[in-house]
Symmetry: C2
Subunit: 467 residues, 2 copies
């Protein structure tokens, strides 16, 4: 018995009674059937297991990214997708080299760090300096110009654990803008506590954004344990010196978004656009970010077609360079022609845990289609958010700006940032039962979106007050 | 060593480095000191331990409520509060009698149920009927008039587990309005899956609201385990009959809100109003709902005065009848005179777990006072919510409607609804470390609100677009 089946077999799925109320809308019975099938479907777990084991880490621009592309083409083809194709686009690859850091004084202590994506390297011998410690990013921003000259700026603010991932959003400037803000004040290097929940010795990477015209200083993330060690050391009042060595290279490279479709039987030009991202950070195997997300999208697309050929086309895109923010614009450009016919777009990029809420396209909540959807997923413990979806993944931003309605599934992110962007992003973190609950939540939506005539653009227009 | 000290001693509190940045505002050093003191302060845990052990359950209108009143007066006095007083108000007491339920056919099975607060009793021999099963509340609402005649309506929709408690809000109509909606369609009784996360044999009570003019039918909550059993049984396709017996009595009674103050040294007429609620449901000991909330409010008030006498008065109200919604209006009426001088109001009523977010009064986020506050609590892993506070506990609703600015601390509610309103609401669920982190989050706010000149009403007015 496969692991995912074993896990399912031990769990009572109490919500599977087959009866459908007589007064439900026309999509309810099909959506209920899709949900039940999804809870036992092996596709998503098999997908994430396969890419974790057979491809592993796949940083955009690396040798592994090309292997991931070929794997994805073969996988979508094997799963029965049509029109499988590769869309290349240019990127600047950033490739990690050896990295190390240590506390030099008051006494030597090795630090677990990881360079931020895009960081310049240090000189070969590293940089060394006394630290300037900030317990919050606001405190760094309050430091006057010149006050960090010759110093290594260290921000140790912890990230709140949140179900909706908002803690990550709140601390994102610490990693993204922190290096340039420190450099403006004279710092020679920048260290941030990992943007991570939990307390662990594994540091968490992620991209930085250097501000134009500001000196580019090397920047890394500290493990949360080492960040707390520095806090404790600082309480003793003696100066702390740190040495940091980062090596990295950059080069022009190509990335690839891989796509496949389940063609619509009636309206093949109307597209329900799903996706996840194919690239990953390099320390783990990209199982939860975003192997699981891709697996959810691929499984949901197939399940939505399990009750018969869909009326509209269901397309899945496996975006080739999400982590360094490269994939959204090329995808929007490549699909400028079909964007006006995209019914809805959604990306699955928040791990493998269960869904707790969905954000519907604006103005659609009270339609018969979405009422049937809400009732189909309510037994899964999923509710409809009050606010409509305004965002559904970094790779969809270009098309959402271009007017494509968004749909989002909110999976529980409480554990996600314990492992995200670290060496702990591995297959063992994927719980097949939770994964399939998320698949069911996506699949029922895709089923209704691809088989009804619902027009999310018209609903949004009707719901938007006229100026 | 007390339990709470033992727990703290084993945990690294990494965020306690004493340095305060030179450019911080004038409230930062004091707020930092309050935070550090709060993390080691025994007041909140001792409070909840004392009321759990010495008073226990204290349903409004019961004999225990009078004991709770006397305990609260003695406790606030012993803790040094001034102007300790009791505000009586009339309620209709609802007192639980013996309750039982069983599946009669297809085969006998005892069910763990608890009557909903306010439910009418059944006849002494109970009611028995075939069930009409609804997997969602929406399905019940879709049932036509007369379709439930002679039946017991059962809604088995599970409640989403949410950090912010929104899952409880989403399913509240299942318990509040479900009995009358079922009665309109002819039902003779109503059972809802407990509004609870987790899966347990303990049922969770809570108030219902009968709709005027609709027959009042007896209503109870099923344990989540028994709700799932009924779902499974229904899959077998044979009719299910249930017998339900509920006894309860009602009587005119008095409830009491107990108050105490730390008088302001400069502006005694300006009031920072805190609170928690003194009453509890009857099956547990009301430790997390709302022993912990009261403990947090009482401790925060004292800690806010720990750096010297506060400029403004800090008042704590221990509301006497929250669970049946009786306390808000009498409190607003009793304080009609001082409401215009209330600086801010906040109630702590979401358990004992750690804070992750705060909602500030509208328009105040970018003030020096609130920037200092945000920086003081950021090392606790607490962030400022984007949306301002519009609500801060059921007992404050009257005064918030009357224009008093609200402040809210969002504690992690992920575990709260595993125990809320059930026999499992007991002292062992209180983690002293998390409790004190919540105390620190409240206390730093109260310290700044009571010692600065911040005018939340003026800030709100300035932030509100003029028509």
């Amino acid at each position: 018995m496969r692991a995912w089946l074993a896990a399912l077999a031990t769990v009572a799925l109490a919500t599977l009674a087959p009866a459908t109320p007589a007064l439900a809308g026309p999509w309810r019975a099909g959506a209920d059937a899709v949900v039940q099938r999804a809870l036992h479907d092996p596709t998503a777990y098999d997908y994430v297991e396969s890419i974790s084991v057979e491809v592993g880490q796949r940083l955009a621009g690396s040798e592994a990214a090309a292997r991931a592309r070929d794997w994805a083409v073969a996988k979508l083809t094997a799963l029965g997708f049509k029109n499988v194709r590769v869309e290349p686009f240019p990127i600047t690859a950033w490739l990690r080299g050896p990295e190390e850091a240590e506390i030099v004084s008051p006494h030597p202590q090795t630090l677990a760090i990881i360079g931020l994506g895009g960081s310049v390297p240090t000189p070969p011998d590293g940089v060394e300096g006394e630290i300037a410690l900030f317990h919050t990013y606001a405190d760094l921003l309050a430091a006057p110009p010149g006050s960090l000259t010759g110093k290594i700026a260290v921000v140790t603010q912890p990230m709140p654990r949140t179900q909706d991932g908002s803690g990550y959003g709140a601390l994102n400037p610490n990693r993204r803008q922190g290096p340039s803000e420190a450099a403006k004040r004279g710092a020679i290097a920048y260290l941030t506590r990992s943007l991570a929940t939990g307390v662990s010795r594994e540091p968490h990477t992620g991209a930085l954004n250097y501000e134009p015209g500001v000196p580019r200083i090397p920047a890394a993330a500290l493990s949360t344990i080492d960040s707390e060690l520095i806090d404790h050391l600082a309480e003793r009042g003696r100066p702390i010196r740190i040495r940091l060595k980062l090596a990295s290279t950059t080069k022009p490279a190509t990335a690839w978004t891989v796509e496949g479709e389940i063609p619509g039987a009636v309206h093949p030009d109307q597209i329900v656009q799903l996706g996840g991202h194919l690239d990953s950070w390099d320390p783990g195997t990209g199982s939860i970010d975003d192997g699981a997300g891709m697996g959810i999208a691929v499984a949901a697309a197939r399940l939505a077609a399990s009750q018969g050929p869909p009326q509209r086309t269901i397309r899945v895109a496996l975006f080739g360079a999400e982590e360094m923010d490269y994939a959204s614009a090329p995808f929007a450009a490549a699909h400028k022609g079909d964007a006006p016919h995209m019914v809805v777009i959604g990306e699955s990029d928040i791990g493998a845990d269960r869904a707790w809420s969905v954000a519907l396209p604006a103005g659609s909540t009270n339609t018969p289609e979405m009422r049937d959807y809400a009732a189909a997923v309510a037994p899964l413990g999923v509710m409809v958010a009050r606010e409509p979806a305004r965002y559904s993944g970094d790779d969809t931003v270009g098309l959402v700006r271009a007017g494509v309605p968004a749909f989002a599934v909110r999976q529980d992110a409480s554990r996600y940032f314990d492992w995200h962007h670290s060496s702990e992003d591995t297959l063992d973190k994927v719980d097949p039962k939770q994964l399939n609950q998320a698949v069911a939540t996506w699949a029922a939506f895709v089923y209704i979106a691809a088989n009804s005539d619902i027009d999310f653009r018209a609903l949004r227009a009707a719901a938007t007050p006229q100026p």
